[in-house]
Symmetry: C2
Subunit: 578 residues, 2 copies
């Protein structure tokens, strides 16, 4: 296998032509002068080199060795510390961080591409930095000035790491059942006690300190508040002081992500500070959730891209069977229609997935940086609509893609040393954590689509789909598809009050239908843009678009049929039938 | 988790009502008097007990420990030997074996159900017996009388094991490239030399001897012949003599099936005996392939059933969130529509899969035991048509099902100790080995559907689908679906000569479309049969049938759309696009 190569040409094409990055950045006061295409491309090239030369080489060995845990200490696999040091030295954790506290202030539509590379190179390793960036985001959005000044520079620099502590054994998707308690102290701090599970990067041996963001209930309250709880206390000068009652109970043994420490965390009267307001912890979490959910979507995208690359390479090298009429002893398996079907399926899903990631990143940037309130509000609505799709559809398709890529390898795909099976195991979790994909779908259909009686959906379709040329068959197919989707959504909206189980029962079918339609839009957009720009990519983009519309888009209709069947088929059955 | 419980009620319903087992057996001279429903049910109950009490308990520990390899010796995980001894003591390996050589002569439509239990209880363990039964089948079909008398009783009894040695590094799907050679000796034996990879059960510490069936080329020939090569030579009295130049080079480290030894086998002038005729090795392999492919399909079914059971149990116990209007602190997650969607999806796919397995087993029995030549020929055609579907569709859906069951577990599904992730890893290989599912699809569409210009397909549809009541919406939907399938198949048949890449390019879409339609037929059949029999299962079968037709059957149409797109979209693209 060749080393990982970032798809820089695709990335550049999306930024430069499809999503007009430079014009977008020039129109935003906070970004103007800070980033242009040249800067962006230089950043992408640097990230590509780092991930190829330093991160990807630790991916396979780290899976074999896994994380260690002994006498309360977590150890990461060999090579992780060196790669981490190089990674933070480049300032990558603070790439999209607030410049006021040492972040680089780069736009998210660039950040998503860097993140894709990190996940392609090594799912497990990239999570450490991703969690830190997520924690920094929450602190920056809701923390008091003193907390920001004290913690953000160390998080952006990677000197300290961040972790999100939400889940407890009895409180997973349903956080109401959290039992961790916070006792208010006279100095304004809190003493936090309780146990958390499934804490990614809960501890490690890469950084001196870990800054935990802990969801807990203030004594006497049944609502959730968010607390910053450092593993090691930090004194007024920002230096490390004494241990803070935060310890690792154990680490989980998992299907994959073996280089990432998934910890049981115990807080024994650990001193913490409130982030945001009392009893408003969930609101604070939601602020960062759009970013984190997109980041996890990109785990699916990064795995997909790595899988596409491996399968494509294997298909060109592996000799078995013959093309029709060939007189060779054997041809590369790329000559077989079924192998081509698999490669084009995973390639077209991955390319459209990257477009979705950049598009969502762009809306996040507009929502954050635009000065026009109307523009900010609209971008925020689009972020809301696209984010659950990005999280769920990128990770569901991500797993499909890694599995299909594994199939291209035949028996060799089942052998560990080939590496493709690791991608399947590593990326599987992305459909589950940061809100299961079922939860994403309910958020999508219940809050984002029907929550405003389809207003945002219709606005999105009007702006993106209805403007497509009427002279194009594919555009008409998309218009019909989105119209059918809107019709089913309207039916759900009309019935949601009288049939309270309806949204939950059909949400996944609806999210998937929307996802397949949206990917059709991105393929048509990429095709049209490439042609209009006279890009050398145009013939390939046309071919991918043709393939996607003929072979994959029909799934949307089947999913809408399934959704139209409603909830009674499921909800009326007695427990014994399950 | 509760111990594995075989779905005996479902199995009985299929045999007794859906596929009229007793009447079928009474109509076949070789089976009449040997097996009736009471015997069959007693066998199923015994198998259920064995797999629950002895086999399932070694499943998780065997995955953790894995197979060992040291100084040329393979060791199976702790507990395998005890379970194996109990397994062979019951005569299970010879269940469907030839009574003349010590087999029990039971019908395959019963055997598939026993095999399902074995794979549900432990994928890795069940393979050892399955390979032995497969090897015995090939020897019985094509071996000389002396070989049969010498080897079959020891294989049926499980005293010795069997292995199939086909793949070499350069010869996987394309067996023409096999390099293993056989030198004819004066005594009629051959000396076999070469190296084989991916040999399941190539060696182990469960049996004293392993009987290898090796595909090799006789010196001077470029065609394949099949040889029986024992690990330890067997003298004229059937006693073990000296080692026979058969050794294990290494074992593979795999994604799953860690209790199953996947060996590199070296043959260094190992003495072997021809099975069947010189240069007709592939024909001998094909005889057994229908059985082996069905057996691997059943690996997918067994994994699916285990996953259904685990997910169903978890969904009834795990408390998170609330049903609409509930005032409980929390309800079991079974109250959520999306969880019900997942459970019903995996349950209805698994139930229909079992029907496909029994139906295929019944056709194998008719082809083997019927005396009427016309009946034998028809059953053989149906075996040909159904077998690639059973292998590919049962294993593809098997993986889907284990993954969806894992999703029901949320974060706990990713943790090894829960056990559900092991099912995903163990069953993944079934889509690859014994002919990849792409190869199955090409066999299905190229040989079975278009090979006789749709004659068998039309015969099958006329006998099974066209006879359904015209007064039933679902029957009409199936008729329309199969008619649409036949129409696309006819178009492919008409164009297969002028477009030689067409079949390869659309085969998987066509097999999947047929599979979804066929599952619709089985659901309608189960529903109608349950009602007609006044079975207490009738209301549940109606509910499953409704669910399947509304939520899953629409996939068939999307797949036919994809197939209709043809091959040019894929075949016209230059290598650089991949």
């Amino acid at each position: 296998m060749n080393p990982y190569q970032a798809p820089l040409g695709e990335m550049r094409f999306l930024l430069e032509h499809v999503f007009n990055a430079e014009a977008t950045w020039q129109g935003l006061a906070s970004l103007e002068g800070m980033v242009d295409m040249d800067t962006a491309l230089a950043i992408l090239e640097e990230a590509a080199k780092l991930n190829r030369d330093l991160v990807h080489p630790i991916n396979r060995p780290g899976d074999e060795e896994g994380v260690g845990f002994s006498e309360g200490k977590v150890t990461t696999p060999k090579g992780y510390k060196d790669a981490y040091d190089a990674f933070v030295e480049g300032g990558w954790i603070g790439l999209c961080g607030d410049p006021e506290y040492g972040g680089m202030g780069m736009p998210k539509m660039l950040g998503v591409l860097v993140d894709e590379m990190g996940y392609s190179a090594c799912n497990a390793f990239n999570l450490y930095g991703s969690l830190t960036a997520g924690a920094a985001l929450a602190i920056n959005a809701h923390g008091a000035e003193a907390l920001k000044a004290k913690y953000l520079p160390k998080l952006y620099s990677g000197e300290w790491a961040g972790a999100m502590d939400m889940t407890e054994p009895q409180a997973g998707s349903d956080l109401r059942h959290i039992r961790t308690r916070a006792e208010p102290q006279e100095d304004g701090s809190y003493l936090v006690s309780g146990s958390k599970i499934f804490i990614t990067g809960g501890d490690q041996d890469l950084t001196e300190n870990v800054i935990h963001l802990v969801l807990a209930k203030i004594s006497g309250s049944n609502s959730l508040s968010l607390f910053l709880v450092p593993k090691i206390a930090v004194d007024d000068n920002g230096n490390l002081a004494e241990p803070n009652g935060v310890s690792v109970g154990s680490i989980e043994h998992k299907m994959g992500l073996k280089g990432s420490a998934t910890c049981v965390m115990n807080f024994d009267g650990a001193r913490g500070w409130l982030i945001g307001r009392e009893n408003k912890g969930l609101a604070c979490m939601f602020t960062m959730m759009n970013y984190e959910r997109l980041a996890i979507g990109i785990q699916g995208l990064g795995s997909a891209q790595a899988a596409v690359q491996m399968a494509s390479e294997y298909a060109k090298e592996r000799l078995q069977g013959n093309a029709a009429g060939s007189s060779n002893a054997a041809d590369p398996i790329l000559v077989h229609g079924d192998v081509r079907r698999m490669l084009l399926t995973i390639k077209t899903l991955t390319d459209a997935g990257r477009a979705l990631a950049v598009h969502t990143g762009k809306q996040l940037d507009l929502a954050k940086f635009a000065e026009d309130e109307i523009q900010v509000a609209k971008a925020s609505r689009y972020v809301g609509l696209l984010t659950p799709v990005a999280k769920a559809f990128l990770t569901d398709r991500g797993l499909d893609i890694t599995i299909m890529a594994q199939q291209v390898f035949g028996g060799h795909g089942y052998i560990r040393e080939t590496g493709i099976e690791q991608l399947v195991r590593d990326t599987r979790i992305a459909q589950i954590y940061e809100g299961t994909n079922g939860i994403q779908a309910i958020d999508f259909l219940g809050r984002k689509v029907t929550g405003d009686n389809l207003a945002t959906l219709k606005e999105f379709v009007a702006e993106h789909i209805e403007v497509l040329s009427d002279a194009c068959d594919k555009a008409n197919a998309l218009k019909a598809g989105f119209a059918a989707f809107t019709e089913v959504a309207a039916w759900i909206n009309d019935n949601k009050l009288t049939r309270p189980a309806l949204i939950n029962a059909v949400a996944v079918d609806m999210l998937d239908a929307f996802g397949y339609l949206l990917y059709g839009y991105y393929h048509l957009l990429m095709r049209n843009t490439a042609i209009a720009a006279g890009s050398e990519l145009a013939p390939a983009k046309e071919a991918y678009c043709d393939f996607y519309f003929a072979k994959l888009l029909p799934k949307a209709e089947a999913l809408l049929s399934a959704a139209k069947a409603g909830d009674e088929l499921l909800m009326s059955l007695p427990e014994a039938y399950f």
